[in-house]
Symmetry: C2
Subunit: 251 residues, 2 copies
């Protein structure tokens, strides 16, 4: 009974998120269905976490156990034949029995993309947030540095977040600019519901000079959600990678 | 009666092309309608050329004459309120009376984007062509160099192309690779129907080692469409910019 770890990319535009929700079409059951058709058995996958409605992924991590023993290539090429154009398995690898995608993840990398322009940009609209006011990236980088480390992120979670602890570790927040986009790359040990999107909403408020950078320090200390920035739109967010210890990926 | 030159960006995915066609929704009438609603008069725009169904633009150039005299900003912000999310006017500028978008264009810049991967890439699918076989970019660059100059491009036009002459000038063809995409940037004086897409289809055949690079020279000399590569998919192509003489843009 091999346990297979999948890397899955998806365009979240048309979905209600990774996990089954009361309304809309979730991504996880579509992947389970495609694997079921390929393997001719019921498949239950366990992921490294959820993504919200409209959030994208380059590399969601999800594992399942199967009684079949296909070549790894078949999980990619075979299952992709049963998946819609906006979801694709990128990679399959064997992991040890008892592999647990959530607790065994070392860290996750999210990227948030912003178009900083007063004019709409039709070709980027599905994968970024358009911010019309000019942003001061230097101030934003100053503010971002306060996030790094282990802090209480209770000011940076959705009101309906049910996590037991709000302590999280952030390894890095890097803000870079290319020809068209501002990218905010956040790597951390784990994330509360909407955490990256509220962090970005707050950084954008700093970029617009509504907050001073040290306001982030106060938010982390005082934990008041209402004092933080708003939740930035889902379409700008993408799960780029989930990191596991190399030792688990050597099979 | 000012003449206004617009720069227009669009996601061509859901359209039958720039110009009105028997089937499907074209882009030009949507822009004319938006300007008509803004200006409360009938507007007829003349563009620098057409784009095929499914082709994108960062900067289509199109001009119109109006009896109104709005501030330039109004043509952008005002008209965009009447345009769908996948079409947006980026810029408006006054040009001399008698400005002719086609003959006065010095050159045009098209970009064609390729994902060279055996696995589907959902987040790039709308704006690139997925080529599964590995491509040899060095051979493709060799082949591309034969396009530069003034040649007979009759091997590189659609069978229903009605242009009177097939002589065209290509200024540069640059092939670059970033993290995810291969971009082929083509700048030239003007283009026949499907010309960039057939050039790219031929370069990809070279990249797959189906053709040797010097085959491009033979195609330009002999002009046989059937000997060239196939027409690459529309979704990979984007009109990046139309260049006009600076002297026309100083008003």
């Amino acid at each position: 009974m091999p346990t297979v770890l999948l890397t899955i990319a998806y365009d979240g535009t048309n979905y209600s998120g990774w996990q089954v929700q009361p309304n809309g079409q979730a991504i996880q059951p579509i992947v389970e269905n495609a694997l079921g058709l390929l393997l001719k058995e019921q498949v239950k996958i366990r992921s490294s976490g959820r993504t919200d409605a409209g959030v994208h992924a380059l590399a969601m991590a999800a594992a399942f156990t199967t009684s079949k023993d296909l070549p790894l290539r078949a999980y990619v090429e075979g299952a992709n034949r049963f998946l819609p154009v906006d979801i694709a398995i990128q990679k399959a690898q064997i992991v040890p029995d008892g592999f647990k995608p959530i607790p065994m993840a070392k860290s996750k990398h999210y990227r948030y993309s912003i178009i900083n322009s007063s004019v709409r940009s039709p070709l980027d609209r599905l994968y970024s947030w358009q911010v019309r006011e000019p942003l001061d990236l230097r101030l934003m980088a100053d503010a971002a540095s306060y996030f790094v480390g282990t802090h209480n992120f209770s000011a940076f979670r959705a009101s309906n977040c049910t996590a037991k602890t709000t302590i999280r570790r952030i390894d890095s927040v890097d803000i870079t600019q290319n020809e068209t986009l501002i990218n905010i790359d956040v790597i951390g040990g784990g994330f509360l519901k909407n955490m990256v999107r509220i962090m970005v909403g707050t950084l954008v408020d700093v970029g617009k000079r509504r907050f001073v950078p040290s306001q982030v320090e106060a938010l982390l200390r005082e934990g008041k959600r209402k004092e933080a920035g708003s939740t930035s739109p889902a379409c700008g967010l993408c799960l780029v990678r989930v990191f596991y210890p190399e030792s688990l990926l050597l099979l």
